[in-house]
Symmetry: C2
Subunit: 205 residues, 2 copies
């Protein structure tokens, strides 16, 4: 199985490679520390399995998944992330990836995931399964932010004022205020500080 790895932490990349190389059936044919480099490679080479982190500089793992789905639909994808926040996990799973495991799972979990995915199955680590089931049991709240809201939240987190954001998006300051209100409501935060913490937890910053 031809595998490509993406993670911005070289040491983790090295470690995973070292683990995978012990398995004769697996072959790590390349690695990258940014989504951009990974995409270049995937355009020009056949990659059967992409194992990628979510946290990446510039383009994040979610964007990478979306693009890989387009340019190489046959490539299987396993997300290897440290994030176990409901919103974010759901967002990622929605893209239709083949596996999701956490960085605090062991390498055995990773190998199991690879085996399962290779057999055409979908593999979610135990903790992720718990999260999903839990969110099904308490479904009320979990409404996602819209793209626009997410965009605005990111700008807030970049220290722009409502006025700045309005100018930048060519919309009225009133509109920004409304979005802001909706964001607060949806995220159940009622202070800017809480909002920024939410943004951190969901990797919007």
């Amino acid at each position: 199985m031809k595998i490509f790895l993406v993670d911005d932490h070289a040491i983790l990349l090295d470690g995973i490679k070292s683990i995978l190389e012990r398995e004769p059936a697996l072959k790590v044919i390349g690695e990258a520390n940014t989504a951009e480099i990974a995409l270049e490679f995937i355009k020009q080479n056949e990659v059967e399995l992409l194992i990628t982190d979510f946290n990446l500089p510039e383009m994040d793992g979610l964007a990478l998944v979306r693009l890989v789905k387009k340019i190489s639909p046959k490539t299987k994808i396993i997300m290897l992330s440290m994030h176990d926040e409901v919103h974010l996990v759901k967002e990622i799973l929605k893209e239709g990836i083949d596996g999701y495991i956490l960085k605090n799972d062991s390498h055995k979990e990773l190998l199991s995931a690879i085996t399962a995915v290779n057999a055409g199955k979908i593999y979610l680590s135990n903790d992720i399964n718990k999260i999903i089931i839990n969110s099904l049991q308490f479904p009320d709240e979990e409404r996602m932010l819209t793209d626009r809201e997410r965009e605005i939240l990111k700008l807030i987190a970049k220290e722009f004022s409502n006025r700045d954001i309005a100018d930048q998006l060519f919309i009225s300051e009133r509109t920004v205020e409304t979005h802001r209100k909706n964001i607060f409501r949806k995220t159940k935060t009622n202070s800017l500080v809480g909002l920024i913490k939410f943004a951190y937890a969901n990797n919007l910053i």
Copy 2:
């Protein structure tokens, strides 16, 4: 060399172990995903080198370093962190550790660090060196926050208003405002958002 590893991400732990096992001179005699477990081990076994992450649940890497220095002063320590923020790096180096490398350094850097530390030297990764030198070149405002300021910053980050903080610390709201002003000045942030990001980067949250 008897090595003990601490990181809350099992997969990284596995990866590093796999890398180190290729070196005959090195022996990983144990690992832990929390500082507490690591301490227990170090109390009862001789550990020559401790390689630890900074971000850990409960007790963080800094606290771990301080305790290990006490209970086993001969144990060498290498910090393997993703943090490259000046204040925090300085804070950690101040404890007198033997090596500091970043997670986006390669495994070769880690091996170099181990070799150097084993020979009694101190090893800082290239990026860390840059940070230190840079901060020496622009020393102007590296003045740390005072304890009181740090305390107030934490309360701000906990979503308390100035009023709340004043009540809680039995001081006037004016005083809180003054502290807040000073914090903004010292951290060179001029928005609440920037301040929270500073607090995150410096692990005050």
